[in-house]
Amino acid sequence: MGAGALMVPSYLMGSNISAEALLHPGMDILTKRKLADVALNTAKSLGSTYADARIGRYLNQYVFTREDKVQNVVNTESFGIGIRVIANGTWGFASTNSVTEDGIKKATQQAVAIAKANSKIQREPVKLAPVQSHGEVSWKTPIEKDFKEVPVSEKVDLLLSANAAAMDNGANFVNSALFMVNEQKYFASTEGSYIDQDVHRIWPTFGVTAIDREAGKFKSRDAMSAPMGMGYEYMDGLESEKLEGPSGLRLYRNSYDIVEDATLAAKQAKEMLSAKSVEPGKYDLVLEPNHLGLTIHESVGHPLELDRVLGYEANYAGTSFATLDKWKSGDFQYGSDIVNLVADKTQVGSLGAVGYDDEGVKTKKWDLVRNGILTNYQAIRDQVHMIDQNESHGCCYAESWNDVQFQRMPNVSLEPGKDKYSINDMIKDVEKGIYIAGRGSYSIDQQRYNFQFGGTVFYEIKNGEIVGMLDDVAYQSNTQEFWNSCTKICDKSDYRMFGSFFDGKGQPSQVSAVSHGSSTSRFDGVNVINTGRSV
């Protein structure tokens, strides 16, 4: 229900196909262009002043296992076209999986009919920022190994090895999964662009559970992986991409060792069963990037979406505390002066990286918060005129061909600190604190003021040293207070990306995938509550 939620996307429900069929090249580009032109020409002939067509082929492979069993191997293909028009100054959209001249004409007529029906209640005619006509261009995620070419048996074996490692190290249960996505997107618009893109994403994950039946307790430890905009090479587990965390924790940058992580997860899940329950109060928090990424997502990414600020999301995800007057003042202190937050749709390896967005705008990188001051939002073609800008930021996206595209969060990341500073340096400086790694429970209000976050693992810091594991930890804060309490950020050697594979927004709800990079960071005097209850 909630925005920012982990949602199961509708494209999970695509048609099932064989693994071999994933390798089929699909419709050729000349046919796509011809069919897209049918939509554009039909729209124009019916009086539309603008139209775009997206022919999408969405290929997914998901592998699910538990303990020593393969639960499911799912290969899906979803193919169709979505047509968006402006008629009488009003948007209309329709989609069909009948990608024929006749099917496309009918869908286009439907889109125009919707636009015209709605124009009767239109009070703010659509105004599009100019966009460059790109002609025929293409873009691909730079991958080394295409998941479609890796045998399913190799993926199954890897997950079962991770499961076995967890069970051998004391887990009672383990579920693991591999999500692999390939979006083959063709975009054409009446602005003269024909854009062909091939986008890849991957997410390996697991949950390990340890049970103390006598005490009536169970604890779970999830994977420390991040979903990435990479190929299957992410599963190589390269030593060069591993980092040593505190208390024996292993952390991963651009390559993931799932067997090693599952081994440690089982040991940690067991350790959690007897971990000390936290004493509530104020603590200095040392937040690891795979944890901090979700806090960035919820407390920076979402509130700086211009559609939220303007009220377009008021009925679902909500609005934003970061109102236009705060931005216009030029001195709104979003965070402390070491806080620099950037939006970037071009970051290599990130989930949000594409060459062009879903309305044909070339992607870029821009500042959201510089030296702690709010400087900009995330906006698309029909919004930027409302903040007196004339160039879209290139962050328009639709979950699939049968969803209308709208403003979605680009990768939003915290820049690393400029001075050399490691995790160990940071922990040494903390007298009373908690080190938190990995994502956990998360909740934030509809204007993004008040939030509460948990985590995957928690370690107590006393007088500069980790003294043991904690349980029942959640921190509550206010976005502006929290970011202004940021006192230290590790350098770029610690920089890693967190990702959200299924981020929900909009009505009907759609998911998108987005990354958030950061280095381990310290936040002083944050309120920690104890979440233990007895029922």
């Binding site: 196909i17 209309g92 009070r123 559970t209 307790k217 169970f218 998360y442 509809q446 209850r533």
Partner: protein, 437 residues
Amino acid sequence: MAIYTKEEARQIMEKALSFSTADACVINMGGSESGNIRYARNTVSTSGHRSNQTLAVEASFGKKSGTATVDEFDDESLESVVKRAEELAKLAPENPEFMAPLGPQTYDESISFVDATANIKPEYRAEVAAKSINPASEKDVTAAGFLNDSSGFSAMLNSSGLFAYNKSTDVDFTVTMRTNDGTGSGWVTRDYNDVTKFDPAEAAKVAIDKAVMSREARAIEPGKYTVILEPAASVDLLRNMSGAFNARTADEGRSFMSKDDGTKMGEKIVDERVNIWSDPLHPDVPTSTWNGEGMPLKKMKWIENGVVKNLAYSRYWAEQQGVDPVPFPSNFIMEGGDASREELIKNTKRGILVTRLWYIRSVDPQTLLYTGLTRDGTFYIENGEIRYPVKNFRFNESPIIMLNNLETLGEQVRINGNLIPYMKVRDFTFTSLSDAV
């Protein structure tokens, strides 16, 4: 044509089945038409139409299964999709939890399809939006809303002789009204199978009134309060609780329903006035009368007088445990009382009226502890009257604790396909304040 009749669907599926050479074959077919309108800033924003139809064949050889899907239903396509499914099955790993298809079943005739809903046109959706936008403008309020209507069918046929068919329609509406000074917000939700029961002007008025009433909210200390939860406030906590009725996770020891020597089946877990059941033929919240495994759905008690009466067993887990399968519920009906919302308020000395809870997330699955926030209309009650709006709270609470602290049950209301009563509950735990409006 995305909506096929029972006979049309049966003929297509029988044709597909005739091509099968597998040990077992299950065919599922479905189609839907849906339309929506979205508006904000007192004007229309995006809207659209979707049409989809699909037929899925699951072929099995021994415990190896493969599934293939097609969206065209001519003979050649049907033969080809069956062949693809069989090829996939031969290459698949064995599924140790494979269950042979069910034989013929008897299903009740469902009542979930209404022609009026299936016939909604774009002009109707625009009219609904106008019935929010126009009164909002008159009251210095801004409307943002969403209407989605859908009609669809689903059917199942298998090689053991089972055939099932269902048609359904739904209309879902929500609107948020925000005062133009930014200090007040109200919200309403309505959902029906039958659109003729929907009164968009009445719904809009509820949200506008709440928005106006909630302006200039005061901050009061977080803590434990008696609350009157409108059905939209409790529905998600209750639905999250229903997830714990999975017998398998309970048996495995990793659920609220687990205990050291088994499960909490037969134990009293909440106040004895709590009665919860599901019923696909309830006239206010009808659903399909069969589930994805082809199991008939019947009226089923989950909590009776506070005691756990049933846990849900998939066919596989039921076989493992030597019990009959119990399908998961398709709706959620909680017994209410006679008290209206106004009477609940009148009989409250000091408390908080909550319109809805938002961004609810699990904090601890062991205790079913959840966190989230109040939203779109939170009011302080004193001596039987709403005194003033209060700032939103963050809560950390378990529905189990909530239902143990039950004071009064009020009237039932349909909410997201379920029937939930107004509830007065003592000692609901608010842990911090939010500035959000």
